[in-house]
Every structure is written in C-alpha cells, then in structure tokens.
Subunit: 230 residues, 2 copies
C-alpha cells in the first residue's frame, strides 16, 4: 500500500469506530431517558425515547455498510480485521440496547396509568448501576482499554445478583398485595430488560478484549449467572 | 472471473447458505425440545437443550468467518452481496433463538420443582404456533420463497395477539391464586421468550425479502405489535 492508501485506510477505520461510539452515546441517552420516564412518570419523555430508536437502528445499518465496504476494498487482516469486526458486533449490541430502552419506555407508559409504587425505587437503583456499567464499557471502547473492559466484565456478577434479589422483592410485593400484580409484572420485565442491557454491556467488554488482544476473554466466566439469564 | 472462479464462488455462497440452514435446524430442535421439557417436566431434556446451545453459537461464529472471507476475497456485489449479508444476519437471529430456547429450558427446570399448573396448556399452544412460524420461515429461506416469507411476516400479528391474551390469562391466574405467583412469573417470561422467538422469525422473513428482492419489506408493518414488544 502507498502512504496515501494507508492513511485513507486508517481514516476509514477511525470513522467506523467513531460511528459506533456515536451509537453508544445514543444508546446511553436512551437508557437514561427511559429510566427517567419510569421514575418521573413522564409520558412525553417516554414517547421521545420510542421515536428516537429509529435513529439507532439506522446507524447500525450504516456501520454494516461501511464495514462491508472495508472488507471488500481493503481485505483487512489481523488487528485491522478485528477493528471492523468489533465495530460490527458492538453496533449489533447497541441496537439491542436501544430496543430494550424503547421497551422500558413503552412499559413506563403503562405504569403511569396505575398507582405509584414504592418498589419502583429498587428498580431505579438497578437502572443506575446498569447505566454506569454501559458508560464504563463505552469509555473502555473509546480508549481501547482492555483492563477497564475486564473490570466491567467482572461487574456483571453484581448486576445479576441485583436482578435476582429484585426479582424476589417484586414477587413478594405482588404476593402481599395482589392488586399490584399487573404493574408488578411490568416491573419484572423492566428489571429483566435492565439485566439484559447489562449483558450487552458484558458482551461489549468481551468484544473489546478480542479487539485489543486478539483472544477471547476465556470460556470460564468468573461470575455468577442470573438464575435464568436470557 | 474465469469459469473455474465463478464455480468456486457459487460453491462458497451455497456452502454459506447451507451452514445457516443447518443452524436453523439446530434452533428448531432447541425450541421443540425446550417446549417438551416444559410440558413433560423433563429435566434431562432441558439439560440437553442447555448443553447443545454452544454448538449454535459456534456455528454463528463460523458463518461470520466464512462471510468475511467472501467479502475480502470476492468483493461480492448486488445479489451475491445480499446472499452473504443475509446469511450473516439470519445466523445472528438464530443464535438469539437458541439463547431463548435455552432460557425456556432453564425455566422449565425451576417449574418442575413446583406444582403442575393447568395454565401451562395455553403456553404450550403458543409454543406450537411459534415453532411452526419458525419452521415455515426456514423453509422459505431454503427455497428463497419470498411469498412464503411474506405470509410468515404477516402472521406475526397472530403471535402477538396470542401473547397479549396469554399475558392476561397468566395474570388472572396469579391474582386468583397468589400461591402461583412465583411459577406464574416464570411462565410470563417463557411466554415472552416465545413471543421474542416469533419476532426473530419475523426478522428472518424480512431478511429473506431483502435477499430475494433487494428491497426492504416496507416500513409500514401491516400487523399489530405486542403491546410491549421487546
């Protein structure tokens, strides 16, 4: 490759990585706003989260298109190939995160129609933990910081423990006051969606590990799984 | 390209499509077995579904590797590009279907520890509908049959309606007998997982439409959404 070609190639890889980082920013805002929609019973904010999800989806398609162009025109190898493949994979994770935030926003609309519930505070607490998990892993991606990625990866343990205890708390709440069963069921799904967002953060940490080291993070996960992870 | 190169290229594309079809077969079996594990309270079968999921994941990685090789060595254009991109995307959907079936199997293990519940019959009924949805869309992929794909795509309406009514039935069941709340919550998640498997089937139908026609199936979906699709 000539110097010129090398430079153009490097720029393409950077542009791809930046587009994924931008998607990450959108996903982060979606999570934050969906959580605020739940706690403030803010239906306008919920509608905004729902409407903005299309943009995240469009970005994902764009990342795929760019990636295919790089595969075809540059035949990237080794670390360059990993940059492209990781961008594609992380874009896929972020698209799912956007969907899950959209779903939380939809459920907040249903919850706003019912009575306020004390137990929602525990859901908010879990939401804050998951949001910071996502923020940390996106920082790790921006800085290609494999050590931070591993820290996030290990912290999934904590999210799963949180989810399992929240699941029990919600069931107890529903059993004690069967009038809360319907709203409680929506909160169960919101908690599950948060746990799934956390899993996508963990997957992103794995992709960063592969990006930087060329190796999978290991098959033995040092963490407890959510009892029924999905 | 020489005749020889064209032939080799066609063979690579066929091999890629066949690998995805094989993944489809594995995902189909995973759904079927996970449903049987629920209805027969068969813990061995559940364990088998859980153990076999790693193979579906490995197949997905392999599809990605093959696809990247084709992008790099052949620079596919137009319909050839769509073959590769669709294989990649459908492999991603099937990997998620495998995860969801694994999760149903895990929940069946928890349910087997509790009392048998009459309402499980309604979950089984939904499971059969979703399974046939997936079988039809995989047939449509094997035959590149866009008409069948559109039929499956439209039928998602039916699955969502089924899910919404099952959701209400389960809540009623839980409200009437609060001792069933814990098992009922697991059944809610199983129903949700089935609905999500149905959504992946619908996504596969969209990918087939793009594969065959080069066009998106349309932004206006002719179907009702599940009230809180995720």
């Amino acid at each position: 490759m000539t110097d010129h070609t090398v430079k153009a190639f490097t720029e393409e890889l950077d542009a791809l990585t930046q587009e994924v980082a931008r998607m990450g920013g959108l996903a982060e805002i979606a999570i934050k706003d969906s959580l605020n929609a739940v706690s403030r019973r803010d239906t306008e904010l919920a509608q905004a989260v729902i409407a903005r999800d299309a943009r995240i989806d469009a970005e994902q398609r764009d990342v795929e298109k760019r990636a295919i162009r790089v595969f075809a025109l540059r035949q990237p190898m080794a670390s360059d190939l990993r940059v492209v493949l990781t961008a594609w994979r992380i874009a896929g994770e972020l698209e799912r995160v956007g969907d899950l935030a959209k779903n939380i926003a939809k459920r907040s609309l249903i919850l706003s129609q019912g009575e306020p519930m004390e137990v929602i505070k525990s859901v908010e607490r879990m939401g804050r933990i998951v949001l910071s998990h996502i923020q940390q892993v996106l920082d790790a991606y921006a800085n290609k910081d494999v050590q931070s990625a591993i820290v996030v990866w290990r912290a999934d343990d904590n999210i799963d423990a949180h989810y399992n205890s929240l699941f029990r708390e919600l069931l107890t709440y529903m059993i004690e006051d069967p009038r809360t069963i319907s709203s409680g069921a929506h909160l169960l799904f919101i908690a599950k969606n948060l746990e799934r967002i956390g899993d996508h953060g963990t997957n992103i940490a794995e992709h960063i590990h592969f990006l930087v080291t060329g190796e999978d993070i290991g098959t033995e996960r040092p963490r407890g799984e959510a009892e029924t992870d999905d």
